[in-house]
Symmetry: C2
């Protein structure tokens, strides 16, 4: 048995309102823990804790696929064993699979003495994502690896950058215990959109990025609008409009769907407001008799980290 | 005769690559000068210098329409006389009509002891723009009034903000002496666009705004791409691809169409490079035997100003 490592790869909120498929942020204190060690017999062995439905076959588990993509690139036949402890269920809209993909390549990269930078690891974690979503995606793996708020400016070539945001930005997330599969929620989107709507959307993207960069909370609030995807995907989330109204009433800057849902997030500029928003979210889902978890945090600036 | 004033309202570069219909910046040392005075007989009288083809009938001249919109809102029957000296021809893509619209309301507002803020004047200047473009537009009048780099985040409600940009940003503009009417260049655009292309565009908008805010010139360069409008409008500009190739070769961060063209602009981070780009532009158009003017400046931080 080789050296062992334990890492944490955070859950993430992709899209952040208008930034469909390009923006994402990392959360604190929620995500996957992965214990990994080298294995002299070769091959990848996966044990799952907390989500026993997920495959442990490394060719079917996103973490295995991501790690294999990295080993293929390295031309390595090194074996690995990993135990993935999940505290975010798949189909949450919080980048659960991305945390596993990102965490696996981050851990292996550490065990192999960092042949790659974190940014270079994104491409391998994307291979994990592609194995379940059909298309390589970086809007969750990028923030899970890098931390902060990330922009996937382009896929060909892959261009991911961290963008500025206010230190006192709080995120309230509610995760209703119902599942929406990303693949399903992609299918219902229109393939063509009116130019006028696209212009309004990139006006909001520009406002959000500028508001983040200049700590202009009012501009962030006005810009946190998704005119294209939210109107469609919100139909799959029971109580969405009440959640949003409740968040705004409680002082949120804005509120939208986390990733492809069903989790919903709101941004605010104080812990107190973030907590009030959480209470409001809980009230709405409790009335609908839908089990739900509330998570409140600031932006995670570190991304994937070694725990021990 | 009442008090007289002379103002300058700068020419502008709208869109700035990916920010179609939302972003714009003001240029230094190029634009309209307007001399205005109160007139006790009522009515609006306009004299044009430098562009004798433009109408002087105040109901047909953008400056007259804009000023009348402001007077209507004020419930005023005050008369005005103005002389508009144009050094940018209409149909240039440098916001020629916007400079007149913005300048007229700015001057009148000063003569009336500032009933409105500059931001409030945008709506009136837009009325001038609407009288020739058919649809109210703010992406030229906003920077001409406010200066700097502006974002028109939304039209309903109107939400215009200044966004951050690097101090050492240079703009090289070439204005070929051929005319493209904004109305024509709008007509050739598609009304529906693929979602995938829209996503790529707002990735670039986010990158440009973030690059501007953080003075990340490389990111500005990578993001200065318009995948939607430029491929279509560039067909109306002779030599466009050579101009762009020449600008990049000369060290430009990026190069695209100014407004609806035919002027073409490039961004750079030094005066020397900006001048080299200008030489390159000149060479391309001279070879095509198209008369052209080069203009080099930094971003104009003041917008419309009183000259005396």
């Amino acid at each position: 048995m080789g050296r062992a490592i334990k890492i944490f790869a955070p859950a993430t909120v992709a899209n952040i309102g208008p930034g469909f498929d390009v923006l994402g942020l990392a959360l604190q204190n929620i995500g996957d823990e992965i214990e990994m060690q080298l294995n002299s017999e070769g091959g990848i062995k996966i044990t799952m804790i907390g989500s026993e439905d997920l495959p442990t076959d490394p060719t079917k588990n996103v973490a295995g696929v991501a790690l294999q993509a990295m080993l293929d690139q390295l031309g390595s036949t090194q074996g690995f064993e990993m135990t993935i402890s999940k505290n975010v269920l798949p189909g949450s809209g919080l980048g659960s699979s991305a945390s596993s993909s990102a965490g696996a390549v981050f851990a292996a990269n550490e065990l192999l003495n960092r042949p790659y930078t974190k940014t270079e690891l994104i491409q391998f974690a994307m291979a994990g994502e592609a194995s379940i979503a059909g298309k390589p995606h970086a809007d969750n793996v990028a923030p899970s690896l890098l931390g902060g708020v990330t922009l996937v400016r382009s896929y060909t070539p892959l261009d991911v950058v961290n963008i500025g945001y206010p230190n006192d930005l709080f995120i309230t997330v509610v995760h209703p215990q119902i599942e929406v599969k990303t693949a399903d929620s992609k299918k219902i989107l229109r393939k063509e959109i009116p130019l006028e709507l696209a212009v309004a959307q990139w006006g909001n993207v520009a406002g959000l990025v500028s508001g983040f960069a200049s700590s202009d909370f009012e501009l962030i609030g006005r810009s946190l609008q998704d005119l294209i995807v939210e109107p469609i995907r919100s139909m799959l989330i029971p109580g969405f409009h009440e959640l949003k109204a409740s968040a705004i009433k409680n002082g949120a800057l804005g509120c939208s769907i986390s990733g492809s849902g069903p989790s919903v997030f709101a941004l605010s500029n104080s812990l107190e407001i973030a907590q009030q928003i959480g209470e409001g979210f809980k009230t709405v889902f409790n009335r609908l008799e839908i089990d739900n978890h509330i998570h409140i945090s600031k932006v995670n600036i570190e991304g994937a980290v070694i725990v021990k």
